[in-house]
């Protein structure tokens, strides 16, 4: 299936969960936050959150700013 991750289209395995995606990006355990179709998915729910074709996903982290 195709998802849009941080503005870029990506192919991921059908039936992948948010945890699978985070794992494939090597971001497991990092301080990130995820939004799927403008709804925040809490880290505690990555395992159970099933992604679907066409999902728009944003993954953010903290950077330097004033």
């Amino acid at each position: 299936m195709v998802i849009t991750l941080n503005g870029e289209e990506q192919n991921i395995a059908d039936g992948a969960t948010a945890a699978d995606l985070v794992n494939s990006l090597e971001l497991t355990g990092k301080r990130i936050a995820m939004e799927v179709n403008r709804t925040i998915i809490p880290r505690s729910r990555y395992e159970e959150h099933q992604l679907t074709d066409g999902d728009k996903i944003e993954i953010v982290h903290a950077i330097g700013g004033g």
């Binding site: 991750l5 941080n6 503005g7 870029e8 990006l25 090597e26 971001l27 990092k30 301080r31 990130i32 936050a33 995820m34 939004e35 403008r38 925040i40 809490p42 880290r43 944003e58 993954i59 953010v60 982290h61 903290a62 950077i63 330097g64 700013g65 004033g66």
Partner: protein
């Protein structure tokens, strides 16, 4: 008054350092770490941005340089030009920082001046406060708007001294003083400070603190400037507490005029 136990409170937490710093524009994370340390700041702002997907997952993280265990991390909504974007950024920050609800709200209205969009700021502040956030709000130096934001429930009001990153210093000290006089929440000058004397002036006006980033990060030696700012803040604060002498139009001799030997 003993200035060594002088502290202030934001959202129920007590802070000794009245200098708040940003973490942007540094050469690298090591410089960020050293300058932050030298500033003595206890509150450090961060921005929330898209992660770089697929690029070096072992890249050092900002929060390793300024660990949340040591500093109060203040996520900002820098770069947001609508109330919606600002609210969404705060919600992402809360998730990122494990439920931490203290945020710096800024909704900008114009690319060139980065002046706050005050009506959008009011709207975002209302939504965020209802959603349980503790909002420190960046705004113009308008005393009425500052009071309105306080009445809405913002935990600190942060008027600009001059445009973000301009280093022009306190452009309207009279307004800053009016805001301070009318406030019952902390007032922090945010943006526009250029050097240590600007920080001291803000504190002499009675501000509770100053938030700055570029003035430190864009100095030739950021770590030394961080230390200078720390001292400028402390000097200004002590001068405010001490109460300055009245200004006079003419001289008043410092040495007694009686008993001159001639």
């Amino acid at each position: 008054m003993n200035s060594s136990n002088d502290s202030f409170e934001i959202a129920g937490k007590t802070y000794k350092s009245r200098l708040l710093v940003g973490s942007g524009k540094y050469k690298n994370l090591e410089e960020t770490r050293l300058a932050t340390e030298a500033s003595g700041a206890e509150i450090v702002t961060v921005a929330i941005r898209r992660s770089n997907i697929g690029q070096n997952p072992d890249e050092p993280n900002l929060l390793d340089a300024i660990p949340p265990e040591k500093y109060t991390i203040l996520p900002n909504t820098a770069g947001c030009f609508t109330a919606d974007d600002a609210v969404r950024t705060c919600q992402l920050a809360r998730e990122l920082l494990d439920g931490h609800s203290l945020v710096k709200l800024e909704v900008l209205g114009d690319q060139k001046t980065l002046y706050p969009d005050v009506t959008a700021t009011l709207e975002a502040a209302e939504t965020l406060i209802k959603d349980g956030f503790q909002v420190m709000v960046y705004t113009t130096d308008d005393p009425l708007i500052a009071k309105r934001l306080e009445e809405m429930g913002c935990v600190a009001v942060m008027p600009l001294a001059a445009p973000i990153g301009s280093g022009l210093g306190i452009r309207n000290p009279h307004n800053i003083r009016l805001i301070v006089e009318n406030a019952s929440v902390p007032i922090l000058v945010d943006a526009g400070v250029g050097t240590a004397s600007d920080a001291a002036i803000a504190m002499e006006l009675g501000c509770d603190g100053v938030l700055m980033n570029t003035a430190i990060a864009a100095a030739k030696d950021p770590v030394l400037m961080a230390s200078a700012m720390r001292k400028g803040i402390e000097a200004g604060r002590e001068a405010f507490l001490a109460g300055r002498m009245p200004k006079r139009a003419y001289a008043s001799a410092s040495s007694p005029l009686d008993g001159l030997s001639t």
